[in-house]
């Protein structure tokens, strides 16, 4: 191996550039079954009585994992999220998820809270019914619907025919400020 210094440097840079890809395809072993005891609650307010206690994880552990996002895509159909939000998140009985409007916020924590706690006017609360791991997979997929995930992570194809663009090819929608919760009728 008598490569010149520049070539060695180039090889190192290329290998380093490949490193982030390792996590992209990482497939975790099935997690421990959810226990009945409640985990840390997801807090919507920092105000707490007594000593402050931690809130549940506020950032998605799978945000950069392509496998998780595509699992989320399958779960979106399997748990019938598609029944209300449309097969590709285009909306139906529930609001669309592929546009730039976020009634309750576009962050992972907001989406997680929406699924776990439910929202007024129809969004059921799935807390305790869906395992934690699958919840975060769903969150990753929901964010990919409006192009919030990197195109290297968002699902490129699905199990069923779809007329729309793959999540991977969607342009990032810039979330609009001040999405207001719908008023209870």
């Amino acid at each position: 191996m008598n490569l010149p210094f520049v070539q060695r440097l180039c090889a190192c840079v290329v290998l380093l550039a490949l490193l982030p890809g390792c996590y992209r395809e990482q497939r975790p072993l099935p997690g421990a079954p959810a226990t009945a005891s409640p985990t840390d609650p997801l807090r919507l307010s920092g105000l707490q009585p007594g000593e402050p206690r931690a809130s549940a994880t506020a950032s998605n552990p799978f945000e950069e994992n392509a496998y998780a996002a595509s699992q989320g895509k399958r779960l979106f159909k399997q748990y019938n999220c598609a029944g209300c939000h449309g097969g590709g998140g285009g909306g139906g009985m529930g609001p669309p998820l592929m546009d730039d409007k976020w009634i309750y916020g576009q962050d992972s924590a907001n989406i997680y809270a929406t699924i776990v706690q439910g929202r007024p006017n129809g969004m059921p609360s799935f807390g305790g019914h869906i395992p934690e791991e699958q919840l975060w997979q769903l969150v990753a997929y929901v964010r990919s619907l409006s192009g919030q995930l990197s195109s290297a992570v968002a699902p490129a194809r699905g199990d069923s025919l779809s007329p729309g663009k793959a999540e991977q090819r969607r342009e990032k929608e810039e979330p609009k400020e001040g999405g207001q919760p719908q008023q209870a009728q």
Partner: protein, 340 residues
């Protein structure tokens, strides 16, 4: 003789298993509609064989009658100097025979269709069958709303009574195919089709989706048990009953697991709080012979595999994996076992 035993063995084994497995065979009609279709099939095979033999005989005759050359002379392939004798007559004969035979088939086809439509329908059982990716939902309709019930993947019908099935699809095009009792019928989303059949011999018949409908198309089967009317009525009465809430401690724990985990998000158990209709109705799941739409035999081990690893058993199925601890799984299996 002993040398030949291994040769016969597979056939013997095949015969033994074929006797045990539910029949899925269009050549063994078990009902009047399938018999009529079978008769048409026999006629078609007979006529086609006749035509095949006639063509072969004509060909051999032509070869036999053609002029020959000896080993040293090249064959004379130049056009005939004189026209072939009786050419017009043979061509007319062949054309006439073809037209006549095709007309026989057309008339027989119409006749079969009319006979299929003429089956008496009084005292019929009405079943609404909806195909899903990849399972079958069956709703037994009744003028009395209290007598309506749902089941999945396993139908019972009375022998000798007509059955009117309304066929629907909830997603893509499927085809209802129960060869022992009737021909195929497409199930097109947004449309309703009808199939009218009658089982005249008791038995269990296997049916299958016959239109490619996605990843698990091949694993989308169902069973139809034809039985005497009194046994059918007893079965229907049992299916109408709600699930019992008299449970042992462990079964109650299983019921709690069912209600707390994702099971309850898709399945119905009548008489409990589970009322979702995205997956098959499980009120009487323990009374069925198979799981996952005819894929697995229904026993405790297979149920455990199906609940915890559905994507391993039937990759692509719309049932997500459920992570359960050992204790929860055992309790859940106990509870599912009570749903008879």
């Amino acid at each position: 003789m002993t040398m030949k035993a291994p040769f016969f063995l597979p056939f013997l084994l095949h015969a033994a298993t074929a006797a045990a497995a539910p029949s899925q065979n269009a050549l063994r009609p078990a009902g009047i509609q399938a018999e009529r279709i079978h008769d048409l099939w026999l006629l078609t095979v007979a006529i086609c064989s006749l035509v095949f033999v006639a063509v072969l005989v004509a060909l051999l005759l032509a070869l036999w009658r053609s002029g020959r050359s000896d080993a040293t002379t090249a064959p004379d392939v130049a056009s005939l100097a004189a026209p072939e004798p009786k050419l017009k007559r043979s061509v007319l004969l062949a054309v006439g025979a073809s037209i006549a035979l095709l007309f026989v088939l057309i008339v027989a086809d119409f006749q079969t269709d009319r006979l299929l439509g003429r089956m008496p329908l009084s005292d019929a059982v009405h079943i609404e069958v909806t195909a899903h990716q990849w399972w079958w939902e069956a709703r037994y309709n009744d003028p009395e709303p209290g007598k309506i019930f749902n089941t999945a993947n396993e139908l019972h019908i009375p022998v000798g009574r007509p059955v009117i099935m309304t066929l629907k699809s909830s997603d893509v095009i499927h085809t209802f195919w129960l060869p022992n009792l009737h021909g195929k019928k497409d199930m097109i989303p947004g449309r309703t089709s009808l199939i009218r059949l009658r089982a005249d011999q008791a038995g269990t018949y296997r049916g299958q989706c016959a239109e490619f409908c996605g990843l698990e198309h091949a694993m989308m089967a169902f069973l139809v048990t034809a039985e005497p009317n009194d046994r059918y009525e007893a079965w229907a009465d049992a299916q109408r009953r709600e699930a019992s809430n008299v449970l042992s401690a462990r079964e109650s724990r299983g019921r709690q697991v069912f209600m707390e985990r994702s099971c309850v998000m898709c399945h119905t158990v009548q008489g409990s709080g589970a009322n979702a209709v995205f997956g098959p109705d499980l009120t009487h799941v323990a009374s069925r012979q198979t799981l996952a739409s005819g894929v697995l035999p229904n026993n405790r081990q297979q149920m455990a595999a199906w609940v915890t690893q559905p994507q391993k058993v039937k990759p692509g199925t719309n049932m997500p994996a459920t992570a359960l601890s050992g204790e929860e799984l055992e309790a859940l299996l106990d509870y599912l076992g009570t749903l008879k």
